[in-house]
């Protein structure tokens, strides 16, 4: 099955819906950037604020450097992420919540760091057996998931 992507401003976007009874998210809209340079998948601080995820309920996991900035990776409970296939079918993925929170202390530093988007990294692609097909000169970009019988 294929998950269509959008190529916007040089980045690869994937729209999704997140849900979790643990955080009373309901069904919330979110866009991810597919980043094969990131080993970690996370919800950005901006998106965590928008989703009203309580930061106090998260535990410190480790530090991460991204784009010259340092972030704390905070872990939480499992959430569900829904994506739409090219055949308009719904597929859900479980994700142990990770939120990237800036360590910056100045107002400008915090605002700059909050421009960071939510990222789908290589860990998510590996865990969920997803391949990235990216051929921009032909306008071809999608994630593909092979089901076991096709492997």
């Amino acid at each position: 099955m294929k998950f269509p992507l959008e190529f916007i401003g040089g980045s690869i976007f994937l729209p999704g819906i997140v849900s979790s009874s643990n955080y009373r998210l309901g069904f919330s809209k979110l866009s991810f950037i597919i980043d094969t340079g990131s080993p970690t998948t996370f919800i950005s601080e901006k998106d965590a604020l928008s989703l009203q995820i309580p930061f106090k309920a998260l535990r410190f996991k480790e530090h991460m450097r991204l784009g010259g900035s340092k972030y704390e990776l905070l872990s939480g409970k499992r959430i569900k992420i829904y994506f739409k296939t090219d055949e308009s079918k719904l597929t859900s993925f479980d994700f142990d919540l990770i939120v990237a929170k800036t360590t910056k202390k100045t107002h400008i530093g915090i605002q700059e760091a909050r421009s960071c988007p939510s990222i789908i990294g290589t860990d998510f692609l590996i865990q969920n057996n997803l391949g990235l097909i990216f051929w921009p000169s032909k306008g071809i970009y999608y994630l593909e998931k092979k089901i076991e019988s096709e492997l």
Binding site: E6, F7, I8, G9, G10, S11, F13, P15, G16, I17, S19, L25, G26, F27, S28, K29, L30, S31, I33, D35, G37, S38, K46, D47, L49, S50, L51, Q52, L66, G67, Y82, F83, K84, S88, L90, Q111, R114, S115, C116, P117, I119
Partner: protein, 78 residues
Amino acid sequence: MNQQIMQLLKEADSDLVWFKDHLEELKKSHDQEFIAIKNGRIVGADKNVEKLLKSLKKEKIDSKNVLIQFVSSIPTIF
């Protein structure tokens, strides 16, 4: 429930396409700002994401039902 999620996904998809189609003009009108998009229009914008979320709340717009994107004319490398 699946129909509700699919409808929200279609909206998120449309709003992302709208963002792509209007990115160049947004770089001029909302550079370095967070914008909230819902049904193909901007329902809020601010340089500070917390202020944006407060203004959405004031307007009784659920931040979970909008797509929030950062607009930058400066190429960003993650």
